[in-house]
């Protein structure tokens, strides 16, 4: 729950920030000026702040972070604090802050941030309730639920909830309350920026206890190393041949390049190109003129 409400004067004097490259080569990255604004709630190292409800953002994929800022601008994600902040950032600066936080490590400040209500929950719940909830969280995370028709979170959010760059965020080590709030936002429709409505349909199928269980499960894991940057590059425009492609009518053994429901196979037994059919020669076990195919898979 957001208790602080920060007013901003976004005075971005155009401090240019080049996209983060492999920071092992270039030393500590230069933080864009706008980061000071983010740090007030999200922490000096992007580690999040349970009391303000601002999540950990360090190490989330840059494309994901930038998209969230866009969503606050275009209204597909609603939050009374983030909306004016995002709108106050120029598009280039949104990209810059996203890139900056994407390459920060999980414990960069050397401090493990308190994981908010986790500790509180553990002391107030009985052991057996906790176990059931742990099991339920683990089941939803790794297997899903056939009755509720939800798939395992792991399919998209990766092993141990480490995310799947560039577009899918990590869940591991995020604050349990934040995760629950996010799922509820999908449920209620105050967050509508999910690709293909995957999260909305999934969250709507979960019971409130499920939301708590899966949030607790991921909150107890360790946040991952930073997502690699520059995972997606724009297509190169140069070099495309505009002339007609040379047509090679392939004769002989390559001629029956099969098509497997659309994708070509490259050989008779789906082996590499060049060995489509074995040459017909008699072997010791074959009568003259016959040959045997290879043991196909």
């Amino acid at each position: 729950m957001m208790r602080l409400f920060v007013f901003l004067t976004a005075s971005l004097s155009g401090l240019a920030y080049s996209a983060a490259t492999d920071d092992s080569k270039s030393g500590p990255p230069q933080a864009p000026a706008a980061v000071q604004t983010c740090g007030a709630c999200h922490g000096a190292q992007g580690e999040g702040n349970a009391s303000t409800g601002a999540p950990r953002i360090a190490g989330q994929p840059a494309q994901y972070l930038a998209k969230q800022l866009e969503s606050y601008v275009n209204g597909s994600r609603r939050n009374p604090v983030m909306e004016p902040i995002a709108k106050g950032l120029a598009p280039a600066d949104r990209g810059a802050v996203a890139a900056y936080y994407a390459q920060l490590g999980p414990g960069a400040a050397g401090q493990a941030p308190p994981t908010s209500q986790n500790t509180a929950q553990k002391t107030t719940q009985s052991t057996s309730q906790n176990t059931t909830q742990n099991e339920r969280g683990s089941t939803l995370a790794t297997r899903g639920d056939e009755q509720r028709r939800v798939q395992g979170c792991i399919n998209c959010h990766g092993p141990g909830g480490i995310g799947e760059a560039p577009g899918i965020p990590y869940l591991a080590g995020l604050d349990a309350n934040y995760l629950a709030a996010a799922l509820n936002a999908w449920k209620q429709g105050t967050r509508r920026n999910d690709a293909g409505q995957q999260m909305a349909t999934l969250a709507q199928a979960l019971a409130p206890d499920d939301v708590t269980a899966v949030a607790q499960f991921y909150a107890a894991l360790s946040p991952p190393k930073p997502a690699a940057s520059n995972l997606v590059e724009e297509p190169q425009r140069g070099g495309t041949d505009t002339s007609k492609g040379t047509l090679t009518e392939s004769a002989g053994p390559h001629s029956n390049v099969g098509v497997e429901q659309g994708a070509p196979t490259t050989g008779g037994t789906q082996g590499p190109g060049g060995t489509a059919e074995s040459k017909v020669r008699s072997g010791p076990n074959a009568p003259p003129g016959a040959a045997k195919g290879a043991p196909a898979k």
Binding site: E164, A172, L221, P235, N285, A286
Partner: protein, 244 residues
């Protein structure tokens, strides 16, 4: 601390380095200094062919590691030792009659039997022509020998050489490109060569960004949160190969 013989030390280190534990089996000498798990199926002579052969089929070169570096021999070994080698999903009733190439495989061998028999035949074949083992040939002669297996139908103790060669090439490609949980494609070098992102695959947001260069590191279905790949445990379908 008691003194440990070098041999015992190496054996111990080899076992520790492997993520799988196999029943004790002889190890080939041809490890090129790398620590590797003992083979479950291949004996020393068989490994002495398989290792250099896969190194010629998919060589290490300027593009990157090849099949040997990718642990493809370990993949082949585990496949031969497992259900596939034992003839899973192979119709194994006779009579066995010769047919046309388009009718497919008609030999009675399971894959494990095919490899065992053919490798014995290769050993005999090389000895007959005065060569003392495939591993000892230079690479040009190795390539020439492999080509002869591929294009002729020489008798390898009952296995036509072209059939053996095609099977070997197929398992080599499989070992290079399958998920690392099966023992090959070590460090996902096969996937890195071509840019295949692996088992975690969600591209809804990217499919209509036509022509983008997608550079996410590949992910194995067996990797955990720290990136360690947990290989499938070995479950040989039959007893391991004889100690040499």
């Amino acid at each position: 601390m008691e003194r440990v013989s070098r041999r015992a030390f190496l054996r111990g280190a080899g076992a520790a380095a492997a993520a799988i534990v196999t029943p004790a089996c002889n190890r080939t000498e041809q490890t090129a200094g790398r620590q590797r798990a003992p083979y479950a199926f291949l004996n020393a002579d068989e490994a002495a062919f398989i290792e250099p052969a896969v190194a010629r089929l998919i060589p290490a070169d300027t593009l990157g590691p090849g099949a040997l570096e990718a642990d493809v021999p370990a993949f082949i070994d585990l496949q031969l030792a497992g259900a596939w080698g034992a003839g899973e999903r192979l119709y194994r009733s006779g009579p066995w009659q010769a047919g046309t190439a388009e009718q497919g495989y008609q030999l009675a061998f399971t894959p494990a039997e095919l490899f065992r028999t053919a490798l014995r035949g290769i050993g005999d074949d090389l000895r007959k022509s005065g060569r003392n083992g495939f591993a000892k040939l230079n690479v040009q002669d190795q390539d020439a020998y492999l080509k002869s297996l591929e294009s002729e139908s020489r008798d390898l103790a009952g296995v036509p050489s072209n059939i053996f060669f095609q099977s070997l090439l197929e398992v080599t490609v499989e070992g290079f490109f399958s998920d690392p949980v099966y023992g090959g494609n070590k460090d996902m070098v096969g996937w890195k060569l071509i840019g295949f992102p692996g088992a975690y695959a969600n591209y809804y947001e990217l499919v209509d960004q036509h022509g983008i260069a997608f550079k996410r590191a590949p992910m194995s279905l067996g990797q955990d949160a720290s990136g360690t790949i947990h290989m499938h445990p070995v479950e040989p379908a039959q007893a391991n190969g004889k100690a040499k």
